[in-house]
């Protein structure tokens, strides 16, 4: 039985009159790929923003097994989350656009900085050494995700698909224990989505990083996920393996509507399908 890395207990968030997340609980175990699915507005990204502390839950708490034991994540400041080993990407890519790819990755090394302000401004031998170490780590990630070609390119000139990978690379540069991916495949073509699936599997298996992701592409979800949590309107619908969740009646209803809804659309029995067509053949 592997240890629980992150555990969310009865999370609720209220924005004015909107209950964006309602009593959601789940556990992410060490080394697993855990996926949140659900229709638009289900509250998936809100859950992400709760974990990265951009929002504070109205009720409930998140506990996380950090490098120094269990911490209550909901009591941390947003900028301290990264140092605990949680890195994230954003749904609509938030890269540092007027900087090179390498520069972006080096910013990802911020939590590992060893030098202070005065060492930086004098660029002492220690600062130089720390820079070289950061660079080596960044190069490892560049090799891992095949970004060599784009190393010195400015992000502002990169195509969307590459930006997605760069953002993931930047998150990996923080050397996380838990990686939060917000729709890693959105805007990617089929081939790029396949690459993304491989990389997520590599991240899980080679680097041993647990992944929590939000994703709509069910092909990708069933390929890489160990467990899936389906949400709708801020509430948990189902949790289990991808197969179990996909066959859950509640999930099907949320995505496709219930049988009752469909039957109300049916024409009354006996009516000819062409009767309203005005006799046109």
């Amino acid at each position: 039985m592997t240890a629980t890395l992150l555990s969310a207990k009865s999370l609720s968030v209220r924005f004015g009159g909107v209950l964006a997340v309602n009593n959601v609980s789940f556990d992410v175990k060490q080394g697993e790929v855990f996926t949140l699915i659900g229709p638009n507005g289900a509250g998936k990204t809100t859950v992400f923003n709760l974990i990265s502390r951009i929002y504070t839950p109205t009720t409930g708490e998140i506990n996380y097994l950090g490098p120094k034991g269990l911490v209550k994540l909901t009591g941390q400041a947003p900028q301290d989350v990264a140092a605990l080993g949680i890195a994230r990407t954003f749904q609509n890519i938030e890269l540092f656009e007027h900087a090179s790819v390498l520069h972006n990755l080096l910013i990802g090394r911020h939590t590992h900085r060893q030098t202070g302000f005065w060492q930086d401004i004098l660029f002492t031998a220690a600062a130089r050494e720390a820079e070289l170490q950061s660079r080596e780590k960044a190069e490892e990630v560049i090799d891992f995700l095949n970004l060599q070609h784009y190393r010195d390119t400015f992000v502002v000139g990169l195509p969307y698909g590459v930006r997605k990978v760069v953002e993931m690379a930047r998150a990996l540069c923080t050397e996380p224990k838990l990686l939060l991916l917000d729709e890693p495949s959105s805007g990617l073509n089929v081939e790029e989505t396949d690459d993304m699936a491989f990389w997520i599997q590599d991240i899980q298996q080679e680097l041993g990083i647990s992944v929590l992701m939000v994703e709509h592409d069910m092909g990708l979800v069933s390929k890489v996920s160990d467990r899936v949590l389906a949400m709708n309107q801020g509430e948990v619908l189902a949790m289990g393996t991808p197969r179990e969740v996909q066959s859950d009646a509640g999930v099907i209803e949320a995505y496709l509507g219930s049988l009752d809804d469909v039957s109300s659309l049916r024409r009354p029995a006996g009516a000819s399908p062409h009767s309203s067509a005005g006799g046109a053949v």
Binding site: V81, A99, Q119, L132
Partner: protein, 358 residues
């Protein structure tokens, strides 16, 4: 076209990336060292002003160009530095200590002014800093026991532990040393984690935060460094003019300072220097050309303001990357001749960002 063959990560850490850099910056430095014997006294004085404004420009460049925070009241930091220097020097404090005091007090004030920057952004930060500028100008005018009020204050010659810098040439070298040291400091910061954190805040606060960057700490730090440099520039400015009064640190000065870096090219250290050169030489050029213009135009009041305005509009429309951007394009054109094409530096429209988190 130059291709740099990289074999070591250390190469990327060097300030001079290749032989060409080393050669041309050495030439520049030699030229600056020889300047007192190459230029007339008048132009040496102008060059001294360029150096002084470059120091201030470096500070604002760090704040606006690299951290993305605009200050419309930067002349206030210049004023705090100038007055601190005057008061301390006149009290007999040696120049290095007085300068350190001027920088430190400006930095402290900058830190305090940086606090609202944690809450307000863009135009609202501009308004906050603008009103701060007015407050400081008013304080300098009203606090007569210290500042001498609107009558202004005279400042003694800089005194470095008994060595009084009497001549223009000595003062020029003092400014040169301080400029070089400040430039190296800023360049060092920019290649280290601190500078990268500033750039991260400029481009995306939300993801800077999720990378572990303490927004409040780095924003106030940026304000403090920027104000310290403005304070040092103000101190030298006071020594250069030997007489300061509150109206030298009004809103027009603040706008000049901001104009300088926008025209120089936001987000580049070169831009700070090019902007300073522009700001100092432009009035000279205008007064030279004045004589050849018809009297109605040439003698009209506000000609300088008009030209500044037109130049700024022209830059915003045609060359948002400023003088440095123009230089980059010209250089690339010659390096790649005949393969340069027009759209090479065109900025792509950025993709939609997640506005709801801001």
């Amino acid at each position: 076209m130059r291709f740099i063959f990289k074999t070591d990560y250390r190469q990327d850490l060097e300030l001079a990336k290749h032989g060409g850099h080393r050669f041309w910056y050495s030439v520049l430095l030699l030229l600056l060292l020889a300047a007192p014997w190459l230029f007339t006294e008048y132009w040496l004085a102008q060059l001294t002003f360029v150096l002084i404004y470059s120091i201030a420009a470096l500070g604002i460049m760090l704040l606006a160009g690299f951290t993305g925070l605009f200050s419309l009241g930067h002349a206030a930091f210049l004023g705090v530095g100038a007055y601190t220097q005057s008061v301390l020097t006149n009290a007999g404090v040696p120049f290095p200590f007085a300068l350190a005091g001027a920088g430190a007090l400006s930095a402290a004030v900058g830190w305090v002014v940086g606090l609202p920057a944690l809450r307000v952004k863009g135009i609202y930060l501009g308004m906050a800093t603008l009103s701060f500028g007015f407050i400081v100008e008013e304080v300098l005018a009203r606090w007569e026991s210290v500042t001498g009020g609107n009558a202004g204050i005279h400042i003694k010659k800089p005194d470095v532990f008994g060595w009084v810098l009497e001549t223009e040439i000595e003062f020029y070298f003092l400014c040169l040393v301080i400029t070089v040291v400040s430039t190296l400091g800023i360049l060092n910061l920019l290649r280290a984690p601190t500078g990268r954190a500033f750039v991260a805040i400029r481009d995306s606060e939300i993801s800077a935060q999720s990378m572990g960057i303490h927004l409040a700490r780095y924003k106030t730090l940026s304000f403090a460094i920027s104000a310290a440099l403005a304070g040092v520039a103000g101190a030298l400015y006071a020594h250069k003019l030997q007489f300061i009064s509150p109206d030298q640190f009004n809103i027009l000065q603040s706008i000049d300072l901001l104009l300088m870096i926008v025209i120089g090219g936001l987000g580049s250290v070169h831009g700070a220097f090019l902007g300073a050169i522009f700001l100092i030489t432009m009035p000279q050029l205008i007064s030279m050309v004045k004589d050849y213009l018809p009297a109605v135009v040439g003698q009209a009041p506000g000609l300088q303001g008009l030209v500044y305005g037109l130049v700024l509009i022209a830059f915003v429309l045609f060359e948002p990357m400023g003088l440095y951007g123009r230089w980059l394009k010209v250089r690339t054109y010659f390096e790649m001749f005949p393969f340069y094409r027009k759209g090479m530096f065109k900025r792509q429209k950025s993709f939609q960002k997640s506005d709801r988190l801001k």
